[in-house]
Symmetry: C2
Subunit: 591 residues, 2 copies
């Protein structure tokens, strides 16, 4: 297990003794502060211990225990920690699933909002109208809702174009999309004409720059897609690297595994020279023409030129947007807050259905379903629609600043969804600081607890798209909007969908093959991949993996639309988000 | 076997007797005409029979026989026809493969041509320049080349646009692509504004039309993708259907399994009203808005409207284009001609790399490789670049008319590639009329012969992308450009790539799942799909299937570019095309 941890911890002593069962059930101190409270809690823990022991040894017919692992008797010798969950939790979880699956309200609402208002870039009227629309709907749900103001940076794309000035074809219109916060071209209407230089690394930029080759030219970064994390640096820093050598603009091959002339925008660091993405196909076209000229200048005498025009405008801190906060008060410890959500803003292309409308809306639905339980969870749950994540995440910072830890209130768990909503896969999770610090004393490991909870509440379900959908816990919880909370030591998780394209490799012929699969269980003993399917399903069901390249078919493109996922995927994901939120809100442990 | 045949035939009597071996090797009459020639051939057949029997029973160390099926002795009781192939054929096939794989010349040439001239719609300068460029390169190859004139219909797209006139968002620019031979809008610049009506079938058109609902409105066909063949009728006839009920234009949801805001053009029957494709995402957007209005007109009072402007112009039979014919004279029966090829024209979007640049270029390469053998094949082989396939296929008709069967020359096999070039899978094949008519007498079945040849020459190869790549023979040979030859009774085949997207179903969430796989061997005994991989390959190798939905990621779109396939795929496909062409050109059988 320990290699799956994203942080360093003392090794877990695994045993089946009573103290361990005790700490596993009640966890370390969850009271906000104070020695007195902690002592009171110890008394409470003791009573829970007694109750649990009674429950384990004298189960009644009306109550079911939910062992997580096959037990070898109550004092079995299995060397794994055992976590049990209160009986009522299972019926609440079932109610959450039933509620989530009974209608397509989330899909319908997201479709209506995006159809009605379109994309929601920070600073736009469409974003504020969408926020107003959500607030009204939330009120209609009978939920408590507030907003808080956030000052946002504004970037307007305006007009832009890119032409390959072909000596044989004339001006060939290419597929271009300016990068967020790019400067305009010096002449924003007529643009600039320059020769291109094609590179695939910063080292090449520096080498060609030192040789004076980049001066007055446009650098085209044409690195084949490896992964978003590996390649995004060309988008964020490419212009900075190139301007140091006198380049007049940069073009960045769009970051994605498959392209149908798709262009991908996204933030780039503020540079003096303009920066735009081009489709993979167009990057390849320009690269081929460039290579022919470099390799055989007699037959191909023309150094390839393009004309780039961008009329983008940046206005830092020029508008006010809002975070939306929907709250369901906790029934026992309302001062303990769980924040779940996503960002309500989007890029200006597509309609931000994937990034991150669906992320927000499944959190909203999770809260709505929680509110329909017979009684609310022990802790307070907030669904937060953070604003302006794409433009530097001030929404997340403002939220953390507005809701600091005090003697009477604090965040105990933050749960973001900003990696798309497809079939559910699980969560990425990082334990909170308190839990980690107290682990030696409490013998409670919240990562293992969450893994056990996933197995317990989701492992044997088959109604959330595939058997065990949503149950996996992976290391690395966090996210752009909850980042400020995570930094304060709040336990953090990220909703993780299964990749929408079920192959372990991209379908693009340009994708670099990797023999790695990112999840366990998909390799045979000889290290080969095996495909398997569920016995009760006659259709092909390839192994699932956490979202990876499939999200980047849509991310920051015109194709970020309702077409990227199905109503069922949204329903199932809302149910899974509700379950994880409920686990955190109801369990008396410190995550 | 018989259920795989696309045509009706007497059942094959399968036996291993000598007469069968004889007929299998030499086949029915292959001389162009005349009783005398046939009798001469019978004498020749007899000598070949003697030679073969000598060869089978007294093989020398220097010669190898190539049994197709495991033999149970020369008079074995296995009930399958046995076809053997002359020894020299294997070394020629090996030379074809070696030659095809040694360079990326096909990819490089296709990339250079498409980069240099762009798309090649009939009537365009770019098409004629591309033809000139090919002719020069073919001459450089030392091959014999001619062209023949073809009068073509011309359609120019000019400007076009489509806006959703949203009451909340203003004019939202949609993803539109006019259909080939569409009429312009009556005002070609300002276009027309009209309400939309969404349908998914002709029955709905007729029903709504009879109710007067379509009058003055725009019909949007929003049928979810099932298959190209099932859905293309909306593109070809949708405007005709709608205009009869007074509709002012039609929009057709693009025909494809996955969309990244992709628009697909293609021919539509000439109608009085304009016809354009829209992306799947935009068709869904309009459908949702339409449905909301229909279902809840109080909350959504506006019947959705769009503004469509098209400035297309049609000029029938207004230009001259050319077929290109590259010829390699046969060494023994030059009067017997094999025509292989694809179409050199394309749509005006993308660059026609997939449809059908690569198809032509692998035929060209196949001929070039055949020309490099120690001696040319027995029959004459022509690589033909038919022109204007997209605009009604006059190139194929002119070719057939210009090269009719005479007493001294005739086509014996026509082999087209117009379904994309990805990894090779095999061919679709239909026997010629003579072969079919003579089957009872000759006991020779050319479909079985081709199947045996595929197994023999390709079945155990592992160097053409995957084991057995290219070997499969499926029923249904033919194609738009060779159609006139096929109708005359010439044996016909179509090059069939493996689907570029290896799943048996589309990756699109909108795709309608089907449990059918189109090829044998992928189902276990319980009818479930099994995935398997080759033992010598550590990467996932899903079962292959003949090209299906994957081709329609690119077909008739902006994404029809060199990005759709890899240099290796082109090399391997050229090799496979060369092998099948060689089998037809060298074997003395009548296909």
């Amino acid at each position: 297990m320990s290699e799956k941890r994203g942080y360093s911890l003392l090794p877990t002593t695994a045993s089946g003794d009573e103290a361990q069962v005790n700490s596993a059930i009640t966890g370390p101190s969850t009271t906000p502060s104070g020695r007195l409270l902690r002592n009171l809690l110890k008394v409470f823990k003791l009573s829970v211990l007694v109750a649990v022991l009674v429950f384990i040894f004298f189960p009644s017919g009306d109550h079911k225990s939910f062992p997580l692992h096959e037990r070898h008797g109550p004092h079995g010798d299995k060397k794994e920690p055992k976590y049990t969950f209160e009986t009522h939790m299972q019926s609440d979880v079932n109610a959450l699933v039933t509620g989530s699956l009974e209608s397509s309200i989330v899909w319908d609402r997201l479709a209506e909002m995006t159809d009605t208002y379109g994309s929601r870039i920070a600073g736009s009227e469409a974003l504020e109208k969408s926020i107003d629309w959500i607030v009204e709907k939330v009120k209609g749900d009978g939920l408590s809702v507030t907003t808080e103001e956030v000052i946002v940076d504004v970037w307007n794309r305006n007009e832009e174009s890119l032409y390959f000035l072909s000596p044989t074809r004339g001006a060939v219109k290419l597929h271009v999309l300016g990068l967020g916060f790019s400067a305009p071209t010096p002449d924003p209407i007529n643009g600039l004409e320059a020769e291109i230089v094609v590179v695939t690394s910063k080292a090449e930029v520096d080498e060609l720059g030192a040789a004076g080759v980049l001066k007055g030219r446009i650098v085209l970064y044409n690195k084949p897609f490896e992964s978003y994390n590996a390649d995004v640096i060309f988008r964020t820093l490419g212009a900075i690297w190139a301007q140091e050598h006198g380049a007049v603009a940069v073009l960045v091959r769009s970051i994605g595994p498959l392209s149908l002339q798709s262009t991908h925008t996204g933030n780039s660091a503020a540079a003096k020279i303009p920066a735009a993405s081009v489709s993979i196909e167009d990057a390849q076209l320009l690269s081929r023409v460039y290579r022919r000229h470099q390799q055989d200048p007699e037959q191909f005498p023309d150094w390839p030129k393009v004309r780039l025009a961008m009329n983008a405008k940046t206005a830092l801190k020029s508008k006010v947007s809002r975070n939306i906060i929907v709250e369901l008060k906790g029934r026992e410890t309302p001062e303990e807050v769980i924040a779940i959500g996503g960002h309500i803003d989007s890029w200006d292309v597509g309609v931000g259905a994937v990034d991150d409308g669906a992320g927000c809306f499944i959190a909203w639905e999770a809260l709505r379903q929680l509110s329909k339980l017979d009684r609310p969870p022990r802790r307070t749950v907030r669904a937060v629609f953070w604003t302006s994540e794409e433009n530097g995440s001030p929404g997340g910072r403002v939220y953390a600043a507005n809701h600091p830890e005090t003697n009477t209130t604090r965040h105990v768990f933050a749960f973001e969804s900003d990696n798309g909503v497809f079939d559910p896969y699980g969560i990425k999770f990082t334990a909170g600081r308190r839990s980690q610090e107290e682990e030696e004393e409490t013998k409670f490991n919240s990562y293992d607890f969450m893994t056990a909870a996933g197995e317990h509440f989701l492992g044997s379900r088959k109604d959330l798209s595939y058997a065990g959908a949503g149950k996996v816990v992976l290391p690395g919880g966090g996210g752009a909007d909850i980042g400020p909370l995570c930094k304060q030591g709040v336990a953090c998780a990220h909703f993780t969908p299964a990749d929408p394209f079920p192959l372990a490799y991209s379908t693009s012929p340009y994708y670099i093959k990797s023999s790695k699969l990112t999840t366990e269980g998909h390799r045979g003993r000889h290290g080969r991949h095996h495909r398997h399917h569920h016995d009760d399903d006659d259709s092909i069901d390839p192994p699932r993996r956490p979202v990876d390249s499939g999200y980047f078919y849509y991310h920051h493109t015109e194709a970020d639309s309702m077409g990227a996922f199905t109503p069922d995927q949204v329903k199932n994901s809302a149910a899974v988000m509700a379950i994880w939120t409920y686990i955190a809100a109801e369990s008396q442990v410190e995550l």
